[in-house]
Symmetry: C2
Subunit: 170 residues, 2 copies
DNA sequence: CCTCATTCTGACGTTCACGTAAGATTGAGT
DNA sequence: ACTCAATCTTACGTGAACGTCAGAATGAGG
């Protein structure tokens, strides 16, 4: 009734690297294909280099994770996509490092530089997150206090006017 | 160079209730007059009933607080102004209660209803905030772990290729 | 090989949350 | 009473973040 699609499981096509199509990815992360293309368009997501014009995009699980991170940061930090781009320099660096590792391309100097760069970005993110967390905690506290006050008022009221028995108007 | 205004302190005009003008309020909460008018326009802020068309708006400290709450919720929860309107029903109810108190207008039934309504709204806000806080905490944890991993990699690297003594750079 | 859902690339439309400009009006200070 | 910055209303403009539509192309399944 609500599932007209045959619900394909894993349309893996090339090798064992689990290739997903844009629609699948969209559903996995809870967004739309358009948004994914848009993020690629503005440089938030890297454009698959393996892809000639007109060809369909293919994603790996790793890229799904990345996209999830992006959405999470966007949601929780409430920053613009432009700011996100700068924040995501961290993942960039880490991805490069991973790619290096996979290909055995290990230039120690460059690798160290990248790692340090990533570390810096991660620390900036952490500070941002902690700042937000602190503000949120304060807000939570304020709300708790408000709730307590309102509750007390209610208790005072009910204890004041409850003494009379249940009279019923008709 | 950047302060052509005489920096008036408190342009209190009517009575002792500290009347502020829209520009003052804007500076106090860190926004612009336009934004304040806009919020009023969409019903986020109540329009001063004491004000005939064309007259300047005047605000009390209480309204400044309210506006600050609004900005805070907007910032920290990242919700739309439309959602905020529904969330702010709490402050609405509480304001009405306060107004009742000031005028000695104490209809116990109505008062209790309002308080209970406010309580409900506050609890909804609290849940929202707590949800956010939890997500943020998770994010912070993830980031911390990432940082730890990157740091370890760096330590491994430097311990591998540091054996050579310290060359100094100027 | 054929089919048909899915994806592709523009390009224009839309909603939100204000910014900005214009011309008239207000009101705090002298 | 006069001045002049600040505020008023109205209306159009803007940037961000997508939505939507059209027409062509792709590619997974039978």
């Amino acid at each position: 009734m609500s599932n007209p699609t045959p619900a394909k499981d894993a349309p893996r096509s090339r090798n064992g690297e689990a290739n997903l199509r844009i629609g699948d990815v969209a559903k996995l992360v809870g967004t739309t294909p358009r948004t994914i293309r848009y993020y690629e368009e503005i440089g938030l997501l890297p454009e698959s280099p393996e892809r000639a014009a007109g060809r369909h995009r293919l994603y790996s699980e790793a890229e799904v994770e990345r996209l999830m991170d992006v959405m999470r940061l966007k949601q929780l930090l409430g920053v613009s996509l432009e700011e996100l781009k700068t924040l995501l320099a961290a993942e960039e660096a880490r991805n490069v490092v991973k790619a290096q590792l996979k290909r055995g391309d290990v230039d120690p100097g460059r690798r160290q530089a990248l790692l340090e760069e990533a570390l810096g970005h991660i620390e900036r993110q952490l500070e941002l997150v902690r700042g937000r967390a602190a503000e949120l905690a304060k807000l939570e506290q304020d709300l708790s206090e408000s709730r307590t006050r309102v509750r007390r008022k209610l208790r005072e009221m009910t204890s004041e006017l409850e003494p009379e028995p249940v009279g019923q108007a008709s």
